[in-house]
C-alpha cells in the first residue's frame, strides 16, 4: 500500500459559537497530529463538536483559538488549490446532473480537463458504472453516498474528509460500504478524517480512533488500531476487535446523558 497525502495538524484548536448573547464552546483545546496517509476517526456523543472539528479542517469554520494546518498551509489555501475532498451525511449531489456529471464537477471547478478514463475507473470502483447516466433521485441511499465519495476522490485530494457519510444508511448497506471504502482506501492511502457514531466502523477503517468528551469536545482517548492492512471483513470477527469495541463503547458511555439540549 502506498501512503499518500499530507499531514494535518490541530494545534490547541478551540471553537465557540455565539448564539444570540450566549456563547457555546463546541471544541476545547484539541491537540492532535494526523500523519500523511493516516486514517483517523473521531467518535463522541452527538453535539460534542465532531463536525465542527471536521469543518475547521475543511476551511468551513475558523477556529476561535489555535490553528489548523494541512502540510504547511492553512485549510483555506488547500481548498483554493482543490486539494480537499469531502463527503457529508447529506450526499449533496446536484439533482439536475447525472452521476457522471456530478463526479466530473471537481474537474470543472478546478478548471482542469475532464479525465474520462479516471472517471470510468472510479465509477467502476464504487460500483456505479451502470448508473453513470442516472440522476441522484433514481439511486438508492447507498448508491448516492458512493457517488458522493467518488466525487470527493476524483481529483486525488491530499485530504479526504468524511462526516458520517453512512450515517443515514441501514446496517447492511453501511457494512457493505465500509468494506468498499476500506478496499478503495487501501489502494491509495489518502490522509482521512472520518466522523462517525459507529464504534465498529471506526475500528474497521481507522489507523487511530479519537474519542471526544461531551460538549465542549476534548480528546479523552486516542486508540491505535492494531490490525494490518489491507483488512478483510473477517477482522470484525476477531476477539481483539470485540475487546477494542467494548473499550471504546465504555469510554463513550461515561458521556451518555451529558448532552444538553
Amino acid at each position: 500500500m502506498q501512503r499518500a497525502g499530507t499531514s494535518i495538524r490541530l494545534n490547541h484548536v478551540s471553537k465557540s459559537f455565539s448564539i444570540g448573547r450566549k456563547t457555546v464552546a463546541a471544541v476545547d483545546a484539541v491537540d492532535l497530529t494526523i500523519e500523511a496517509g493516516e486514517f483517523v476517526s473521531f467518535i463522541g456523543p452527538s453535539g460534542c463538536g465532531k463536525s465542527t472539528i471536521l469543518r475547521m479542517v475543511a476551511a468551513l469554520e475558523a477556529p476561535t483559538a489555535g490553528q489548523v494546518t494541512i502540510g504547511d498551509l492553512p485549510p483555506s489555501e488547500m481548498a483554493q488549490h482543490h486539494r480537499l475532498g469531502v463527503a457529508f451525511q447529506d450526499h449533496a449531489l446536484l439533482p439536475w446532473l447525472t452521476v457522471r456529471k456530478n463526479v466530473e464537477l471537481p474537474f470543472r471547478i478546478a478548471s482542469r480537463p475532464v479525465n474520462d478514463q479516471q472517471i470510468d475507473q472510479l465509477l467502476n470502483l464504487v460500483g456505479l458504472s451502470e448508473f453513470d447516466r442516472a440522476r441522484p433521485k433514481q439511486l438508492s441511499g447507498g448508491m448516492r453516498q458512493r457517488a458522493s465519495i467518488a466525487r470527493a476522490l476524483i481529483l486525488q485530494p491530499d485530504v479526504l474528509l468524511l462526516d458520517e457519510p453512512f450515517g443515514a444508511l441501514d446496517q447492511v448497506t453501511r457494512r457493505h460500504l465500509n468494506i468498499e471504502l476500506q478496499n478503495i482506501w487501501a489502494r491509495n492511502a489518502i490522509t482521512t478524517i472520518l466522523i462517525t457514531h459507529s464504534v465498529d466502523e471506526a475500528l474497521f477503517l481507522s489507523d487511530r480512533v479519537v474519542v471526544l468528551s461531551g460538549r465542549p469536545g476534548r480528546v479523552v482517548k486516542v486508540l491505535p488500531v492494531p490490525f494490518g492492512r489491507p483488512r478483510s471483513p473477517s477482522v470484525m470477527r476477531d476477539p481483539l476487535f470485540h475487546q477494542l469495541a467494548d473499550d471504546l463503547t465504555e469510554s463513550l458511555e461515561g458521556y451518555v446523558g451529558s448532552e444538553e439540549p
Binding site: 488549490h81 482543490h82 469531502v86 446536484l94 439533482p95 439536475w96 471537481p106 471547478i109 433521485k137
Partner: protein, 251 residues
C-alpha cells in the same frame, strides 16, 4: 398513475372553464345582471365579425408590443439585479428595499407620472416592465438563495469561486423558481401594458376598454376584456408547460 391524475386535473380545469362560460351565458341570456351583461355568444360573435378585425388587431398589436417590451426589459433587469444582489452581499439590503418600495407604488398611481415623463406611447411598455421587474427580481433572488447549505459547503471545500458557485450551483438551482417567475410575470405584463394605455395611449386594448366604456359600447368592452384575458392566459399557460418540463428534471 401520474398521467391519470394529470388528465383528471385537466378535466377539472375544462369543467371550471365550462361552468364559468355557462354561468356567463345564462346571466347574459336572462339579463340577470341587467343590460350591461351580454351573453357569451353575443360577445364572441361581436369579436369574430370580420369588419372589426382591423380594429382589434391594431389594438392587440400595440398591447402585445408593449407587453413584449415590458416583459423582456423588466425581466432582464429583474434577473440581472437579483444576480448582482446575490454576488455582492453589501448591495443586497439596498436593492431589496428599493425594489420593494418601487413595487409598493400602485401602478395606477405611477401611470400618470410615466406619461408625463415618458410620453403616452412609452408609458404602457414602462409600466409593464415595472410589473415584470419586481416579480423576476423576487423569484430570481429566492431561487439563488435556495441552494442548500450542504451544497454550498461542498462547493467551498472544492475551492469554487463565487462565480463558479453562481453558474454551477445557484443558477441551475434557481431555474424552477425563475420559470415560475416568468409564468407569473406574463399576466402582470399584460396588466401593466393595459393600465399604461388607459391614460391616453394612441392605441391598444387599454385604450379600447376606456373608449368603449365612455361610449357605452358594451359588446366592444366585453370583447376587449376577453382578448386581454386570452393573451394573459395563453402566456401563462405556455410558461406553465415549460415549468412542468423543468420541474420534472429538477426534483
Amino acid at each position: 398513475m401520474a398521467s391519470a391524475s394529470r388528465s383528471a386535473s385537466v378535466a377539472y380545469g375544462f369543467l371550471g372553464v365550462a361552468l364559468f362560460i355557462g354561468g356567463w351565458q345564462l346571466i347574459g341570456a336572462y339579463q340577470l345582471a341587467g343590460l350591461t351583461w351580454p351573453p357569451f355568444t353575443t360577445v364572441i360573435s361581436y369579436l369574430i365579425e370580420p369588419s372589426r378585425w382591423g380594429l382589434f388587431s391594431r389594438a392587440l398589436e400595440a398591447t402585445l408590443w408593449a407587453m413584449g417590451f415590458g416583459y423582456a426589459v423588466g425581466g432582464a433587469c429583474g434577473f440581472t439585479i437579483a444576480v448582482a444582489a446575490s454576488m455582492f452581499d453589501r448591495l443586497r439590503p439596498m436593492l431589496d428595499t428599493t425594489s420593494a418600495v418601487v413595487h409598493a407604488i400602485p401602478a395606477i398611481a405611477i401611470a400618470p407620472l410615466f406619461i408625463i415623463l415618458l410620453g403616452t406611447s412609452t408609458a404602457p411598455s414602462a409600466l409593464s416592465a415595472l410589473n415584470v421587474f419586481f416579480i423576476m427580481y423576487v423569484s430570481t433572488s429566492a431561487g439563488l438563495a435556495a441552494a442548500t447549505p450542504a451544497h454550498r459547503d461542498v462547493f467551498r471545500v472544492l475551492g469554487a469561486s463565487k462565480t463558479q458557485q453562481l453558474y454551477r450551483l445557484q443558477l441551475p438551482n434557481a431555474l424552477p423558481s425563475i420559470i415560475t417567475g416568468l409564468r407569473l410575470a406574463a399576466p402582470a405584463s399584460v396588466i401593466g401594458a393595459i393600465i399604461g394605455e388607459w391614460f391616453g395611449a394612441p392605441r391598444g386594448l387599454g385604450l379600447l376598454i376606456v373608449s368603449a366604456m365612455q361610449n357605452f359600447q358594451i359588446p366592444l368592452l366585453w370583447s376587449t376584456i376577453v382578448l386581454a384575458t386570452a393573451i394573459s392566459a395563453i402566456a401563462y399557460g405556455l410558461f406553465g408547460l415549460i415549468e412542468r418540463l423543468i420541474h420534472a428534471r429538477f426534483q
